[in-house]
Symmetry: C2
Subunit: 272 residues, 2 copies
């Protein structure tokens, strides 16, 4: 899905919501616990209920790997179940030497058929470029993350007095383009989006950190929107664990609808 198609989906559905399937097996509702694959059953019901109110799903690999090989099977089944109507993101934060990243690209873009993967930039271009040769797929590079300790390294200054995250984004943006790269910018750092947009006006941004982590959706849109909207705002726990009753899927959909309605209003307010 190229960035123009993603934009068209945002306009058609009037939302830029990405739902994070951080499907922690220890937090599942009782009603799915007896299924053959409880996490898949949970995901399936969440996906069925929320498809119309989001444009992307993000699977955080950690929550699946915690269940070992069967967790990988669940992840694979979930990606296939979502299909090609939505952008599927493996939130995997990989990054390694070139020959190893060829294998990660094969794992996530061929064996698993995800549309995008998050990547850590510390090892430089070798660790990102293997992902860029796949047409219609995205390498989503960590820019400025939403966690409290992001400031330790990402806000430290380089010798030109630039913050490190700006140095990283500026350099990494040269390796690809808006049709094969995105960047992660935490919603808890929305005030820095204006600086980031000066460097990468055209790229889509994957924005975690609204909801449980406390970021402001309006600030994200105000400082981050571009001519293709350019935002995939993720919400995980707030939506998928909205309730643990037997109608948890309906409650998740209600949360997704609520966020999407806010998004629709903000699109109206900030689209030029």
């Amino acid at each position: 899905m190229d960035s123009q198609s993603l934009y068209q989906e945002i306009i058609r559905k009037n939302t830029f919501l990405c739902i994070g399937l951080d499907s922690d097996i220890q937090r599942l509702p009782d009603c799915v616990k007896n299924a053959d694959d409880p996490v898949f059953e949970f995901n399936r019901r969440i996906i069925d209920a929320t498809r119309d109110y989001c444009i992307a799903y993000k699977l955080n690999t950690a929550f699946y790997e915690a269940n070992g090989a069967s967790g990988w099977l669940t992840m694979d089944k979930t990606i296939r179940y979502i299909g090609k109507t939505h952008l599927t993101i493996a939130d995997a934060k990989r990054g390694d030497i070139g020959n190893t990243c060829d294998q990660y690209a094969r794992a996530f873009f061929e064996t698993m058929d995800c549309d995008a993967i998050t990547l850590a930039p510390y090892m430089g271009s070798d660790s990102i470029t293997p992902f860029l040769k796949y047409q219609g797929r995205y390498a989503i590079v960590l820019g400025l993350t939403s966690n409290p300790s992001a400031t330790e390294f990402q806000y430290a200054k380089d010798k030109n007095d630039n913050e490190w995250f700006l140095h990283i984004i500026q350099t990494a943006a040269q390796w690809g383009n808006a049709n094969n790269m995105m960047f992660v910018v935490g919603a808890t750092r929305a005030d820095r989006l204006a600086d980031i947009r000066k460097i990468i006006p055209d790229h889509f941004l994957l924005i975690p950190g609204i909801g449980t982590q406390g970021g402001s959706l309006e600030d994200v849109v105000k400082f981050g929107i571009n001519k293709q909207v350019g935002l995939l705002v993720n919400s995980s726990r707030t939506i998928i664990f909205a309730s643990t009753t037997s109608d948890f899927d309906r409650c998740a959909a209600d949360e997704a609808i609520k966020i999407s309605k806010e998004m629709a209003l903000l699109l109206q307010k900030y689209t030029r």
Copy 2:
């Protein structure tokens, strides 16, 4: 295995070799291809043949994930097969927000029962500390990596004119100690080991990059050795793909023995 026990194993076996099981399914010898799980059969034979000539095995997760859920099963079986006689390292280069890293720690230290995991530092202390609370296990943080593009960010200067990798190592070393943390330093950067040892005299270092990547073993020892030796030097492809004939395991052992003999000589030369 605490650092003292690791040291004792190095002295007992007279080697500090770590064998990297980068077991690329596309490069396996014909003689294992008909096994139920060809990668496991390959690993099993390599492990049986090389156990006495190394102190650690490192599994690069990418090569297993490329095979999907069945690859994770192979990884899990391999870790169990190695058992507790050797340090087992998941070369996974993970790193995420705190609640996610709790899940990665569960995945690799509980579900899979590895002794160590490699981690990327970009997201700061939140992304490392969840791994430090496991007694006898190691968070192995990327310091200075062996790949060509490592220089792009890791050699860039901070505002105090320190190279970035030194800034990272200096900061991260404060989060734990030599019994729960190690650092990755590529053998291709052996000339920088003296600077690194000034900051972390006591930590073990995981050193990839000899063999195919071209690093010098003698330089690694000369600049990197400490009072517990403090080095786990990894070799992957040179050993495991030494041959694709039916006696590939014997050929792998020969390579491991050759490297371990060099190590024994260097230990004699540089141990004080």
